[in-house]
Structure formats: C-alpha cells, structure tokens
C-alpha cells in the first residue's frame, strides 16, 4: 500500500493555513533568518533590554540602589516637569527651533540639490558639492567660536556697522534672546544644507533619463523638467525624509544650544534635551531627567505615526 503524501495535499483554509504558510516561508528563508539572528539579538540586547531603564521615570531612583528597589513615584516627576516654571519656555523653544529647522532646513537642501543637479560641468559640480559638505564636519565648538568672532559685542559685524556709522552702539546679537532663534537656524542651515543634499542628489540620479528626453520632445524647458520630472521623481524620498523629520521635531539640538546660548538668552535657547541634561544628569535627579526624556520620546513616536498616516492619506506614500 502506498504511503499517503500528506505534504502535497492542499492546506485547509482559515487561520491555520495562514500560520502554516508563514512556517513554510520561514523555513524557505531560514538561511536569511540565521544570518539576521545576530543583528536581531543585537537590537534586542542593546535597544530593547535597556528600555527597562524607562522605569526610572516612575520611581525615585538614587544611584547605588537598583531601579526595582527604588521608591515608587508614579507620575510625580512628569507632573513636576509640567508644573515647573520652565515648562512653557522649554516646550515653546523646542517646537520653534525645530519648526524653523524644518521650515527652512527641509526645503533648502532640495532646492540646492535641484540646482546642483542642473550643473552641466562635472568638475565644477564636484567642487561646489564638496565645499557645501565641508561645514558638516566642523564641530559645534568651532562654529560657536566663529559665531562669537563674527557676532560678539566686539565682533566683526559690529565693527563693520560701527565703522559705517549704521549703529552707534554695538548690538549684542549673542546676548539678546530675540536674535537667538535666527542665529541657531542659520547656523544649522549653514552646517547641514550641503550634507543633506546627498540623499536627494542620489535620488535624482535615479530618475530615468528617457523621461527627460520625452519631456524635451514635449517642449519642457529646464525649469519645466525640474518641476514636472525631477521633483515628482524624488517625491517618495522627500516624503520619507519629511516623516522622519517630523518624528525628530523634538530634537531641537543640544550642544549648539549649550555652546551658543548663555544666561542672557536662556529664555530662548533652553530646549527639552538641554533641560533634561541640566536637571537630570548634572543635578543627579536621574528620575526627573528620565521622565522628561520619556515624555519627549512618546510625543516623538506619536508625531511619526501621525505624519505617516497623513502622508498615506494625502500623498499615498508612507514609510510603514
């Protein structure tokens, strides 16, 4: 009697068949999974296991004691942050500085990439690109000292304005809060605009040249090609970076604030990260710092999901 060939029989429909299909797929891709195992383990060990530290935000942690054995604080640290006199300023500064960075810093590399993409002389294009990348490699410490030299009370700009008779007293650009947001936005832009073009330029390089040929035949000029071919060609990249940018809207910077800001501009420079550092790490109130950081992270995740959902509905493009 022949042995029935069970494995070749059609699988029953429903959830069981779905699970079996998954098992089959897993078995088929087992080599890939084996290779991925170390990375999965890496992510679990280094990205998920340390998350137990989030607990710190809900207890009164004291260094030397374990988090588990610390006294339970519930939401007290979150409440303390919300009730603190700095809360309004810190949240406002974070949102404004990030908002300005997105408003100015997001389109700027797209425009620069479009312009660079239009350059015909390869050598010139390379030189311009390289020069535009360079500021990215300059540390914020150096940028801060450049700013002090340029914008200080005795800096170059004040010197020029005084000599030209435009002002009779130096303007304290770095000592007056009203200038801080502009200075930090301009510094971020100067530092990163070139570097951020890389991803757009590579996306533009991927646009099929035949589409440009077809556009030419249809009478498109360079501006028209840019608008109707290049930009739509890189739209998925733009959307992807925009969603990620929204997720990072609460990452308004850290070292630039600490280096360029000072006591006179504190009302305009203090952002969530610098606040968490000062009151969490420097004061040794780790639970308070953890609560502030966690609050920021939760809002960030919420913003990413929201931006992704909006993008999916409006532009039919999303990252997950």
């Amino acid at each position: 009697m022949d042995k029935p060939v069970v494995e070749h029989l059609p699988l029953p429909a429903g959830p069981v068949s779905k699970w079996a299909r998954r098992k089959k797929t897993l078995y088929r891709e087992r080599n890939l999974w084996f290779i991925s195992l170390p990375l999965i383990a890496w992510v679990i060990i280094f990205n998920y296991v340390p998350m137990y530290g989030i607990m710190m935000a809900f207890v009164d942690y004291v260094p030397g004691k374990s988090i588990i054995s610390s006294d339970w604080a519930g939401l007290r640290h979150f409440k303390a942050f919300i009730d603190s006199p700095d809360f309004g300023n810190v949240v406002r500064n974070t949102l404004v500085i990030s908002g300005l960075n997105i408003l100015v810093g997001f389109p700027a590399p797209i425009v620069l990439a479009l312009l660079l993409n239009e350059l015909r002389k390869k050598r010139f294009k390379q030189v311009v690109q390289t020069i535009s990348y360079l500021p990215h490699f300059i540390s914020w410490v150096v940028v801060a000292s450049i700013l002090f030299t340029l914008l200080g009370n005795e800096g170059i700009l004040n010197d020029i304005l005084l000599r030209l008779g435009i002002i009779d007293q130096p303007i304290s650009y770095l000592g007056e809060g009203k200038y801080f947001w502009g200075i930090i936005t301009a510094s971020n832009l100067w530092k990163d605009v070139g570097w951020s073009t890389i991803i757009y330029l590579s996306a533009m390089a991927g646009v099929d040249s035949e589409v440009y040929e077809a556009g030419k035949v249809d009478g498109l000029g360079r501006m028209g090609a840019m608008w109707h071919i290049t930009l739509p060609g890189v739209r998925p990249t733009i959307v992807l970076l925009w969603i990620l940018g929204i997720g990072g809207i609460l990452n308004a910077g850290f070292e630039q604030q600490l280096l360029i800001g000072n006591s006179q501009t504190r009302e305009y420079y203090e952002v969530i990260d610098t606040y968490a550092y000062k009151y969490g790490i420097q004061l040794g109130n780790y639970s308070y710092g953890a609560a502030v950081g966690l609050m920021k992270a939760v809002i960030g995740v919420f913003l990413v999901f929201s931006a992704n959902r909006i993008s999916k509905k409006v532009l039919d493009t999303s990252i997950f």
Binding site: I35, A41, E154, S263, Q264
Partner: protein, 561 residues
C-alpha cells in the same frame, strides 16, 4: 557546505557579540590599605607603632595607604604637584596618600561611583548635599565611634563646631575638609590703584561715590594701549554668584540674603536693597561703563580683558584682581611698577549699618567622609587625628619643609620661615607655582584654616602669614577690617534628593537671566519694571519656599548650635 558555512558564520557572530556583553562583576577590587603586606589590614597589623617621628606622629610599622577622591581637577597636574609631598610623607611618616581626581564634573562622577560601587575609602571636597546622598545610601562610615579612641584631636580642635557636624541622632558621618575662621577679607570693591592716585586719590565711601570715581577714571582712560575700549566694571558668569553677594553686602545684605536676628531669611530680590543695587548696576550699564559681556564672559574671557588693562574696577573676590592684574603684569612687563595694581576697598551705602562684604563660614563648605570601602577606618582616623593638629596643618598647608625651595624649615622641634620666600610674599613677587610643587594643600582632608592654637598666629595659608608685613595685604586688611562677618549659621544647602533642590536650581538660572535683563535695561524705569517682574516671577516659581526652608534651618541652628 554552504549551509555549514552560514551556520558557522552565524554562530561565530552571536558568540563574539555575546562575549562582549558578558556580565561584569561589579564588585570593586579590594582597596589596598597596606602596600607592604597583602594580608588583611586589621588594627593589629598596621597599628603597631614603633617610633614617634619629629613631627609627633607615631610611625606605623606597615605603610598606611589612603586613597581619596577629591573632585574635578587635572589628574596630570595633581600627580605632578603630589609627588614631592607624597615622597616626604612616605619617608617620614610611612603614610602614602593617593589623591584621585578626574577631569569630569564631580557630581556626575560621584553618582557614577555610587551606581558602580567603584570608589575609594575616603572622599573629600563634598558639599553637604553630596555627602547626604552617601550617608543615606549607607556608604559612609559613622566616625563618632572612633573619635574618643583614635581621633580625640578632631573633637578638641573643632571645639564648639564639633556638635554642628552631628546628625539629629548624634551620629558623626562627615568632617570638614576646611574649617575655622581666619578674620581676613575675602571680597570687596576693587580699583586700579595707580590710576586712582594719579587722579589725586579722591575719597569715596558710598556706591554712588565709587561710581563717580570710576566714571572719571574711565573718562581719563577710554582706551587701552592697543586702542581697545575700556570699562569701569566687568564681570563673569554667573554674575548672581560672582558679583551680587558682594554688591548686596555694600547695602548690608549677608551673602545675598537679609538675615534678621530671629533667623528669618529674605532673598535680595525681595528687599529694597536688592532694587537699589540693581539700579546701581543699571546706571553703570546705561553710562557705557559696564562691559556688555559681563553676563556672558567666562573667567578666562574676563581675565583676558582685565590683564589687557581694559577694566578699572571690580566687585567680588579679592584675589581675582591680583591674579588677573599685577601678577600677570609683573611677568609680562619688564617695566612694571609696584603701584600698577588693584587695591581692595570698602564701599558702603548710607542706608546700611555695616558693609558686609566678606562672609566667613567656620564650618567650611566642603566635607570629608570615610566610605564603607575602608577596611581599617581606625587607621584613617589616626591620620585625621594627626592631620588636624597644628603641626599636621603646617605640613599639609605649607608643603614639604627643609628642601631647597621650601617655605619653612623644621628642626629640633622649632619651625622657621625661609626668609627669601617670606620676603617674596611680602614684596608681592612670590611665584605660586613653587607652592604647587611643594604640595601645599594637595593632601587637605580635615585642615583648620583659622589661626593655629599653639602660637596663636600661624595659619594654613602660607601667604596669609605675613599680612602685617606685606604692604598691599596690610592695606587691604585695613581698608576692609570692618566688612567681615561670621555667616556660619546662614550657609545652608538644600539636600540634593529634595525636590526643592530642583526648584533652587531653576530659581538660580532664572535669577541670572532676569537680573541680566534688569541690569541691561535701556532706562531706569525699564530696569525697575524688569526688577519687579523678576521678583514676581521668582516668587511664583518657588523662591518663597526656599526662603522658608532657609529660615527654618537657620532658626534650628540658632536654637541648637
């Protein structure tokens, strides 16, 4: 073959990664207290004292090694400055002191030490709030149990102060790193002496008169030799700490607070004196006499301007105008004259009964603890017992004696100053890098900085021993003799684990920002408005709670100390 290769590769990666994550035994390595023996350090092993040396220390048979953490500093510099003194103590006392410092914020390092369990047997230069954290964690050894048997000098030297270090249960966990009162000035107004005498030495007493003299001086020296703009006054951040306490002292405030006889503490922003001193600074600013970067400058920025002769006055610690003034000029200018310097002067508002410029704190601001890592706290206490004596204080404070560059000699039970060194101090030409090399102060753990009991005049600070003979120090002391006061009861720290400590930091940061705004206002009306806004904002942010905390603690001290 392919599967085998994949499997092998995967296993290798997982194993190598997990190997890197293997748990680390957090148990700290045992701290060695006795370098000559590897066995335990029971008192019987180390306590066999065979000889008493010429300084009165019973030299232990085996080397007593004490490792102590002393906060943030440059490890290379500290190592270099420790070498000579370390050799001396090892040779003469059979005691090896190892000072540990890191170029990292002390608070962060202490928290890391607590979390990791990796710390030495002694920690010094702790604030009260930092020490409280170690005590609460059970990491600090109770020292009271050793006092009578091993360290009676600690009790006798501290005298009445001793009980102020006991907690509410009568336990002793901390000792002062520095303690005692030396009635010499610490802060004042400053003025460029040669320029002032060139003006005919116009007299001044009140802040307004001080302002007028500085204004006239700035008019006569609007630019330095390089053509750079000069200022009557400058400062460096944080101004609420650097300038405000001394400035408030001109109106009779005590280190930034009005302290009533019953112990009530009122912060200067809640006093009419606070408004007056703000208006004074605003007037200086509006007249272009205040360096506009005063609230931004670091000490080094300020020092660069000061050394470049761009500043003609100062309000704050006495030593800064020496350090940034003539001590720089005498090295850089071969034609420097003795009168080219700043002198420290008394300034008192008419409304104040007394100018309170120098706040003395008999308990000192820093603490030393013995941690639970110490295997023989008794032996460490014995060292404290010697170190706190007048002779111990001389050695620790004045550095190694009897060498070519020493500042003192000690022979046949008598100490003498080295005349050349004394003369250099008196003449104001002493090179303080020599003090560093001699290890002056490098191993400070429980030193008294007041007047020594044995001769009634010596003091820990080498250069303060000749104040009556040093022309400029004498002038300073005479100028400021009635500006010094004992503020021991009002030096109050908020415990770090109290949420009020967060409020206090917020208040201090806001104070600096808002005071800068009030000082740099364009008109006096605007300045007054900004001062009032600052006061309201700080009060609504918790300043009243801080005042209440300080008042309660001050009143407790009045009753118990």
């Amino acid at each position: 073959m392919k599967k085998l290769l994949t499997f092998t590769l995967m296993c290798t990666m997982v194993i190598s990664m997990l190997a890197g994550c293997s748990s680390n035994n957090n148990e700290p390595a045992p701290v060695k207290q006795n370098s000559n023996t590897d066995n335990g350090n029971t008192p019987a092993d180390t306590g066999v004292e065979e000889v008493t040396n010429e300084f009165g220390w019973n030299v232990p048979k085996n080397t007593l090694e004490i490792n102590f953490y002393a906060g943030q500093d440059n490890p290379d510099t500290v190592k270099e400055n420790s070498t000579l003194m370390q050799q001396f103590l090892q040779e003469k006392f059979n005691v090896k002191l190892n000072k540990i410092v890191y170029d990292v914020d002390m608070n962060e390092k202490l928290n890391l030490m607590l979390a990791s369990g990796d710390y030495p047997e002694v920690i010094t230069m702790l604030s009260d709030e930092q020490a409280a954290k170690w005590i609460a964690q059970g990491k600090a050894v109770e020292l009271g149990q050793y006092i009578d048997e091993y360290a009676p000098n600690v009790k006798s030297q501290l005298g009445d102060l001793y009980k102020s270090f006991l907690d509410k249960d009568g336990k002793l966990y901390t000792l002062p790193s520095y303690w005692g009162i030396l009635p010499i000035p610490g802060a004042s107004g400053h003025i460029r002496y040669d320029w002032w005498t060139a003006m005919g030495s116009p007299a001044f007493n009140t802040p307004d008169e001080f302002y007028n003299v500085l204004k006239q001086m700035q008019a006569e020296h609007p630019k330095n030799s390089k053509g750079e703009k000069t200022y009557a006054l400058s400062g460096y951040a944080p101004m609420y700490k650097v300038v405000a306490p001394t400035l408030g002292g001109m109106w009779g405030l005590q280190a930034g607070y009005k302290v009533d006889k019953d112990g009530t503490n009122t912060h200067w922003v809640n006093t009419p004196e606070g408004l007056e001193m703000t208006k004074f600074m605003n007037k200086v600013y509006r007249d272009g006499m205040l360096d506009p970067d005063s609230f931004i400058n670091t000490f080094d920025d300020w020092k660069a301007k000061f050394s470049a002769e761009r500043v003609m006055g100062h309000i704050g610690s006495w030593w800064v105008s020496w350090n940034a003034g003539h001590e720089v000029w005498q090295k850089t200018n071969p034609n420097w004259k003795d009168e080219e310097r700043f002198v420290q002067v008394k300034v008192k508002a008419d409304s104040a009964e007394q100018a309170k410029l120098t706040a003395l704190n008999g308990r000192g601001s820093y603490r030393t603890i013995i941690t639970d890592k110490a295997k023989n706290p008794e032996e460490i206490m014995k060292w404290f017992n010697f170190s706190i004596t007048d002779m111990g204080t001389r050695i620790i404070g004045w550095g190694v004696p009897n060498t070519a560059n020493s500042v003192w000699t000690y022979e046949n039970g008598t100490f003498k100053w080295v005349e050349a060194m004394k003369k250099a101090v008196v003449d104001g030409t002493y090179d303080f890098t020599n003090s560093d090399k001699l290890g002056q102060g490098v191993f400070t753990l429980v030193e008294g900085v007041g007047t020594m009991k044995d001769d009634g005049k010596s003091t820990y600070w080498f250069d303060q021993n000749f104040n009556d003979e040093a022309k400029w120090k004498k002038l300073m002391n005479e100028n400021l003799k009635d500006t010094i006061y004992d503020n021991t009861l009002s030096v109050i720290q908020i415990p770090g684990n109290d949420l009020l400590a967060v409020t206090n930091t917020q208040i201090e940061e806001m104070l600096e920002t808002l005071w800068a705004k009030a000082v740099t206002s364009k008109t006096e009306e605007e300045s007054v408005k900004n001062f009032n806004d600052m006061r309201d904002k700080l009060n609504s942010s918790g300043l009243k709670d801080i005042e209440a905390f300080r008042t309660k603690e001050n009143q407790r001290r009045l009753a118990e100390w």
